[in-house]
Amino acid sequence: MTYHERFDKRAFDEMRPMSAKVGIVPRADGSAMFQIGKTIAYATVYGPRDLHPKFMQNPMTGILRVNYNMMPFSGHGERVRPGGGRRSKEISMVIQNALLPVLNLKDYPNAVVDVFIELPQTDAGTRCAAITAAAMALADAGLEMKDLVAAVAAGRVEDKIVMDLNYLEDSHEDGCDIPVAVMPSSGKITLLQMDGEISPAMLKEAISKARDACKKIYEVQKQALKARFLQL
């Protein structure tokens, strides 16, 4: 089967329109919004702050704690029951692992940096939008960082490698979804998942294209951060 043209007419490696804003939640220590197509992610950072319960504390370093949540009305289809399930727990964990490599929390023993991610509307690629927003929020909170993290959902639809899948492509029966998070400066990968079937050659191509796509996202992140601090 040949995928001649994308459902929304984009080029195969073209991402949906992006926008980003830093400092959207004044009450938080750091915050940012990232929109790609119809997917919107808000991320806020609180901390470093005291960590309870105490048994979670690490006297050697501060820890990162991520909470990913879809607003009840943000899903495609029925209302998403609040409280989160196995899916959001797993996504929170992989996002945590995707962000941790750029942070240095050694100066904050026993403390926690909380990242709260909320999605008011979604059209696939939520964990990637969440990571992209969270990285900006961490920078906005003034934490020491080696790099930012940018993420994109790469994938395969029929015979084509595509970037930034929307819901129709994501749920296409002959395809696969490969979320990739990258530290743009070093090019190293901090999140990689996949579901579906793909040849090793195509997988390689998808990941390499995702790295290029993340560079474009990185530019959007940098611009939003600069805009925030020019405004101050």
Partner: protein
């Protein structure tokens, strides 16, 4: 610490000023943005000063409850997200979120803003379930009034989804043009009492000094459709009268923002 804060708030109020230079019975600027979530059947973002909440309406078809075969289902839920205030935690709604949700629900239900009888598709068999979820994004005080306003705004924005021949909602199809039948537009105003002073639209710091509060649901006719007294201090009859009067007088300011 609260005692000092309270003394300070009171001192300011006695001079007729607030932290941010407002008069005691003055609201911060209110703005409403509609259609902020494409995934919802209706949605709105409400800002009262720095406080920001977003509400979404999700509609579903359901079988009516056996004891109310000719009534649709209306549900209001409030999520005080941990992103909006460092004191809020993840997990099931706490006391504050539960109270706000119940008071917002009361204002909508008891004003007959949405008549549950209008939500019937096939009597005894099929009705609309209207789920309103309000999420806080940034808490700088007065979440109660902001949530109530956002819930009404989201209902106003809602369009009915298409229903398939199997009586299920077709979420893939574009929404219809049909609005929800809103008979009234109730708004809620919370009046605060500290010492012998009254004020509205508290900031977060001022909320810590609250001795008593009264949330009043007000319809456009100026009638009262919901009440909730909160906090510890008792209120005299004169206090109550004053507080209801204040709420009724201020309600149009909020309704005009819709």
């Amino acid at each position: 610490m609260y005692q000092e804060l309270k003394a300070h708030v009171l001192k300011c109020l006695n001079k007729g000023v607030r932290y941010d230079g407002r008069k005691p019975l003055e609201f911060r600027p209110i703005s409403i943005e509609y259609g902020v979530s494409a995934s919802a059947e209706g949605s709105a973002r409400v800002r009262i000063g720095g406080t920001e909440v977003i509400a979404g309406v999700k509609m579903e078809t359901a079988t009516p409850y056996p004891d109310t075969p000719n009534q649709g289902n209306l549900m209001v839920n409030v999520e005080l997200l941990p992103m909006s205030n460092p004191k809020f935690e993840t997990g099931p709604p706490g006391q504050q979120a539960n109270e706000i949700a119940r008071v917002v629900d009361r204002g909508i239900r008891e004003s007959k803003c949405i008549s549950v009888h209008d939500l019937v598709i096939k009597p005894g068999e099929l009705v609309w379930g209207v789920n309103i979820d309000v999420c806080s994004l940034n808490d700088e005080g007065n979440l109660q009034d902001a949530c109530a306003l956002a819930a009404i705004a989201a209902l106003k924005d809602a369009r009915l989804p298409k229903v398939t021949e199997h009586d299920e909602v077709d979420y893939d199809a574009p929404k219809t043009d049909q609005k929800l039948p809103l008979a009234r537009l109730p708004v809620e105003v919370t009046v605060i009492k500290v010492g012998d002073q009254f004020f509205v639209d508290p900031l977060s710091d001022e909320e810590m000094a609250i001795e008593a509060r009264l949330t009043v649901g007000v319809t456009e006719k100026g009638t009262v459709c919901a009440l909730q007294k909160g906090a510890e201090a008792p209120l005299s009859l004169e206090d109550l009268e004053k507080m209801v009067d204040i709420a009724v007088k201020i309600a149009p300011t909020l309704r005009n923002a819709l």
